[in-house]
Symmetry: D3
């Protein structure tokens, strides 16, 4: 009786897409207006998918109060109302939403009470990215 | 040429999360405000995922009129505008959305014209649960 | 330079539409399945509309931190995860969403830092009610 | 480090569900009001799911500017503000949303910069269809 | 104690924007791809705003069961899954969403149990039109 | 036969709430995490409300192609993918969404083909601001 839970968290953050390996012209060509020097921002929606068996005593797969406490401490406190480019996670990584998925996956993989299946991030209403962890060897 | 159909049905129902195996204090600790004695409620969105080949004559995988008739009779008539705790399905089962997924899966598994892939239920806009049936042995 | 702010709060609650002035048959005829004896529930969305001048020093009409603190204390703490029929507000008032609008209007009319314009409550995605206060005499 | 991208495109189009293999009565029985002679329409939402590794230089799986240019040329220009029944794709195929999924899958399978995983089309807010390509033999 | 009710109905219909007073070139210039000869379509959302006092016995402004019965008979039965250009209402009127608002206003103005305030129609998620009736003289 | 049109435009931008008139501590107290030094961002939804009579020849109040061209030139080109604090509009004005409403109102008040009624801006799904112009004297 394994179920999957999807829980959404909301972040407002800014970023600038820019690669130090490129010239100014190359950055502008590759990233377009996402390369504007002072950055821009999004309301990111982070959807965490967790799976596990249902506990017969509680009817729950994992207690949402536990997951929310974990998310507030490990996700919201670090990323909400921040400029992603200034964070340690993105000093050598372009703060694209693809990479944000991978970073956030690493965070929720530490959640002790359920198995992380995937992270999906909506950058805008027409755009989302999903990461399910490294492929099995 | 197998396609998957996702069809959403809407239920307004109430529930109280409570386990007879726990003391009052334990219930309060585990379920928090979801344990409030007189219950609370949700607009549940039930998304049924069905799969099958497309019929070349009709261009359809299954006729939505058939699926809707089945859903009205087997899902809506039993659950809509009800208190889940009072229903036969939840006399020995905590009426969590995890368990509601499993119960609703059992219902749509009887639909004769397509294969049930999974049930997803949104409890709130930030919360959903998914059940895909028992794991293959 | 008066602006209007719309802020949304979310409540999960249950209710039963029932009038003591009616017989069982009349209640059933008037309220239909909303009269089911054990109640049902909704995810209510409460949208508060406030107006006032923009403070030139802050660029704000009212500080959302103040409004949220007020809403948490006066709205969420009283109504969230409750059965409306059991609350003092609805002992002599049918807990319809129309009446919930009027009750919630009375609460936010006490907010000291801006003028309450109206309360809008979504009962479902297809249904909302709005109350703008008593008509001017 | 494979990620999946979901990108949504919007089409307003009309269609009539009708099969030349059926009599008028059979068409009416199978398709109901979707068989109304002059057609009806929808705001279709086309969600394209693509996968691939993240390019370490750009932080991107594929450049959205490339995908959007492809979609504008191959999808929007052909289908938007059209009557599906009049298009070459649907001369011998019922223009159901199931079949539209399969046709659109064939288009995005030609996109050179990422691997197409699936096409999901929302016909209405309560209805969507998904096609993931022919099953592996 | 006057409240306002907003109730949403959903229509799938098609139309072609075209004026007999214009040449083909003028039609194309004015209406763009909305003038495509075989039409296109939308999922229209019709939001009806009604006002009135709350009945103390029922807690309702108007019974939604009455309004829904009226809407099914007078709105849905005539417009849903139709091509607007073929309807009597639009023989001398361009079937724009502006004009659809005015036609639908005329329908709900006949509802006997509450006062019609306005009709709002969403043509797409980014587009809506509103009509509040003829201006007071 | 006056109708009102609501048209939505989408901007991704960043801002930092900060007032030069305040000390660091005051800024932090007033603006909270919105004062984080490197800014944060939002997907802003700008809803423009315009009114006017319906042209009997076209069935339109204003041609959306005209309004979109105006919006692309005067709104999107200046604000999309920008940091609001760096723009000329906000050199002496806190770039709050209240003030963004007022600035955007000034832009659309120049649109020559319809009367601007109001600007509504959604900062997040739970937050919006509205400005209807200076009060009549």
């Amino acid at each position: 009786m394994r179920v999957e839970l999807h829980r959404r968290y909301h972040l407002s953050a800014s970023h600038r897409l820019h690669s130090d390996a490129y010239t100014l012209e190359q950055n502008r060509a590759v990233f377009g207006k996402c390369n504007n020097p002072y950055g821009h921002g999004h309301n990111y929606v982070i959807e965490v998918a967790m799976s596990g068996p249902v506990d017969p005593a509680t009817g729950m797969m994992t207690n949402l109060a536990d997951l929310d406490a974990f998310a507030n401490k490990e996700l919201i406190a670090h990323f909400d109302h921040q400029n992603l480019n200034t964070l340690a996670d993105f000093q050598t990584l372009v703060p694209s939403t693809e990479n944000l998925c991978i970073v956030v996956f690493g965070i929720f993989a530490q959640y002790p009470h359920a198995r992380l299946e995937r992270i999906r991030i909506e950058e805008t209403g027409n755009n989302s990215f999903e990461y399910s962890g490294p492929a099995a060897p």
